[in-house]
Symmetry: D2
Subunit: 326 residues, 4 copies
């Protein structure tokens, strides 16, 4: 189902090589000022163009189709559309018969009985995250002073990111990395036991971003190597400020007012120009595949702003629900 949220609802649509991609934001409060300029910075962060990112460069100019009037949100659904312009679809024709390893080609074919738009991964493309970034721009405005920051902290296990990117390019291969997301100025009381815990909702939307393989909150997997006395965060005052923050700002699925902290594992780009072995559905034999299209060496470079966006979207929904509870 392609929508997320209870009060602040986000739906995305579109295909990589179709007319374009877009987003509908329903339940946005009225009166929030919104201009194309507001989107420039975050869209730029998501854009390709730097070392290790794809050569397909789109201008990514947002078109407002609904919900904005005289520079402000109206309370009605906001639709933002991004036309596709720089398309080379023939790059993808061969994948009809030779599903790329690590890609959605095979499952899309199966799930949709071969009716899927396979050009540039179609609806499964990372290009769909453009709508998420756009919704995130609005969400970030709503949740102020809460502020979400995501940083790529290592690539291929190395804090020297540039070094790893260069090495991967030389190898015609790709690399992944770990992104850390921090939420500052959090309020307590966000989240619902059990099925809408903060971790439930955030992980749910995080895993809708293509290529994410893991998430951990606070001390995460490391907490399995610590004693309870080390993991427990001592409370220091009436506001719930804690000495350490191994919980990542969440207890019992609810924010405790300390910083929200989590880390996300981003896999290496599946599309690589190195020759790979895979099954040819036409010849019914194993075959060699060399992917020639334009791809990121490390799409983890472009993911942080998407992670910020989806985190802000999830938190906006929590904030609006909490108001209803008060």
């Amino acid at each position: 189902m392609n929508s997320f949220g209870t009060i602040f609802k986000v739906s995305i649509f579109g295909e990589s090589h179709g007319v374009g991609v877009g987003v509908i934001i329903d339940g946005c409060p009225p009166g929030i000022s919104l201009s194309k300029e507001d989107f420039i910075e975050d869209l730029r962060k998501r854009k390709s163009g730097t070392l290790g990112t794809t050569k397909r460069i789109e201008d990514d100019e947002p078109e407002f189709l609904s919900g904005i009037f005289k520079g402000k949100t109206t309370g009605a659904p906001i639709t933002i559309f991004f036309k596709n312009k720089n398309i080379k679809s023939k790059d993808y024709d061969e994948f009809k018969n030779i599903p790329r390893p690590g890609h959605a080609d095979f499952v899309a074919m199966k799930k949709y009985n071969n009716f899927n738009d396979y050009r540039g991964s179609g609806h499964f493309s990372g290009r769909l995250t453009l709508g998420l970034v756009a919704a995130g721009v609005i969400a970030k405005k709503i949740i102020k002073p809460i502020c979400i920051n995501a940083i790529l902290i290592e690539v291929n296990g190395n804090k020297n990111i540039d070094e790893e990117i260069r090495r991967a390019i030389k190898l015609n291969d790709s690399v992944g990395g770990i992104v850390e997301v921090i939420g500052k100025n959090m309020m307590n009381g966000l989240g619902e036991p059990f099925f809408e815990s903060v971790e439930s909702k955030i992980s749910s939307i995080i895993f809708s971003i293509p290529g994410i393989k893991g998430i951990e909150f606070g001390c995460g997997f490391n907490c399995t190597k610590m004693y309870g006395s080390q993991v427990n965060d001592a409370i220091l005052n009436e506001n719930g400020k804690t000495k350490t923050n191994n919980s990542g700002g969440i207890n019992g699925g609810i924010t405790n007012g300390n910083d929200l902290i989590f880390r996300v594992a981003v896999k290496p780009t599946s599309s690589i120009s190195k020759i790979q072995e895979t099954f040819n559905l036409k010849t019914k034999q194993m075959d060699n595949l060399q992917i020639k299209g334009r791809h990121d060496t490390c799409f983890a470079l472009r993911v942080p702003v998407v992670l910020e966006a989806v985190t802000a979207i999830a938190i906006t929904d929590f904030v609006l629900i909490k108001k209803g509870e008060e």
Copy 2:
């Protein structure tokens, strides 16, 4: 919000030291045979009693309040209730003023304006997972031949689990661990891009279990230290069988028919008998806290069957949705 699922809907309710805990399962297909015996094995796996688990032992006998007639499900909502019997509520009285580090005491107080039932963590108690296990028993029947298995593979970073438990008991401390979940005989095509990806839905329900701090699918966080050529799983035949399974059986958020694999980080029990420092809300000063109630040294020992249950619940919902799509 305390319900999960689109077609197969599970809601849980109850408190640790109230009348009892329970579950409603809505959207269960009719005609599934169901007796109390069906629940014995999974409820036993969740039960305490062995080394490292709490001394509070409940008989955990399920009462069927609705939805079952002549030993079979009717298609109407199924309600299963577990009475609380072995309760010692005075163990918890002091936590009204001294919120336990690592616990939901503080956030529950804040979120619910001090109206929360604080006895035995109330609605936040791990005892609520009893309803999940009960729903899981039914879900496991529906998804056959798909079969979900969860195993605690290490505690405190050590594969010798017994050794770590004994050490923690000696230290009056607690330990966590990593559980691996494997789904066999999977079908392809489960899951929806983007917001109902398999990882989204599974992680969402996994994080509704108290004490989970991380989840990773397939090669998970390790994939950030591998090249794309190493992570990509070569497809070997028309059914999509892959040579390796670094994707954990999921591409583009959709099952590919290979085994579903993920690992979950379970934190050490927050309640420890070792003395801890925390804030006393009454005296407005830091205070020493020694928790005397009955607690697990390592509740990760009891979590695997809960993880099996929630995974089966999520997959059941996917399976029923997929039918609607065909």
Copy 3:
């Protein structure tokens, strides 16, 4: 799907001749005082016992299974259960083969492949409305000073209700009627265009009550016989007070602050002791059916308090959503 609402979620379960019937209320704000006494008046209004109502009399005592602590709601899901006590199931055995005209017997059999609990209409029984009335008691407290009143204004087209009841009893037949529901002290701004209009949500929950055949808001079907100049309600002041109230307090799906007004058509009870013709599924021939169980001559007598309850439930959800929007 057996649950209703976005923030204030109500789910009902149970069977007429099973263990009992109940309700779960999720999303109820904490701190609302709640005792068994609060339920007495509304449950009594729904009860049978007076002329024209069934001889099956249940004590309808609510059991609180969760969500209430020290006489107040906690914020956790509230479960209220009503045990069935006065059951005569053999009254219903014959309907397995001879589905009663106007009843759910036939569709239940088909939909649930004969696995449905057919005793006393099972899950389709009007007894399930007990849970709605209980949830309504809580909802009415939340929405104060908004106040919902429902009155049976005519039976069998006659304002002399008693006269019609006596006549129907003499004829071994049943009668229906029209109930008018009025909401006083409404606020403006409740409701969402388009799919959660006030009329959408109210009609949706109204039609979940068995035996409702129609609903009309404001001047309703009569407006089709009036000119626009007669139907339009002139606005009289800044608060939106109108001269007439043909709109029933709703414009564009949103409350305008005037009284909410709608009328509901309640059909005659389907179970009558008069002999009826219908199909015998065993003999595969038409057959005579004389229903001998205990039934209402006019269940419209017992419906008003149920209508109040579901209206209050729908409005509570709107009120909590509106808070989130502000």
Copy 4:
């Protein structure tokens, strides 16, 4: 909330005098052939141009923004957009201060703190139903052989529709009417007790169409003037065929396989050129208002195809859910 449905999800967006209006259909099965030609007939039925309809004529050409590839649905969300072309926004400027009686002007202003797009009723415009009609075209294809037909059976209480239209035009006034909707070739077993009864879901989406004031199923309000023995539909054979169809094809909220029948009350157009009295928010006094824009004398003429569309949408969702249950 601007989306409808559980599996087959429809969301609408846009404004009367903004860039355009549109619809997203999520959960549509793949492989359904779809061309612009498929939309011509239903869009034409909704169009103005005949006697009694507005002089604003739009070409209403659908643009496919996503979800269609090689003339077939792909399984991904389908976005259809209709550009606004024939706009005269200054017609509406005065309504900022003088809310039109019977219109959403006043509530929109209040609900959205004056940030609403008031031009041509903005998001509240009947123009939004264009998206519903488009979604209905697809829904009608999915539910075949089920076939939905809606007919305007009377206007101003008169079966001679033309006569009433001419009279109203002469009076500078407007008129409403009653539309009857019939579903043929229905299957049994659609609908869910209690909150997703067929009547619940259909009425819910029907009341999202602007200007609907009532709905009645089968014999509807008339059943309140009949005895149970008259209302009950005798079952005639194993398939559940009934002698009469007073239930409108629904028992216990579930379709019984007989024709689905319901009637809908459509109010007279609120915008009339006759002078009306209402409150001037600027002068804070009662004022005369003469509406000069282009409006339907009787929008009930254009509503039938919209009713067919939303009925088909609701039934499609039921059909897809039922598959999941089997």
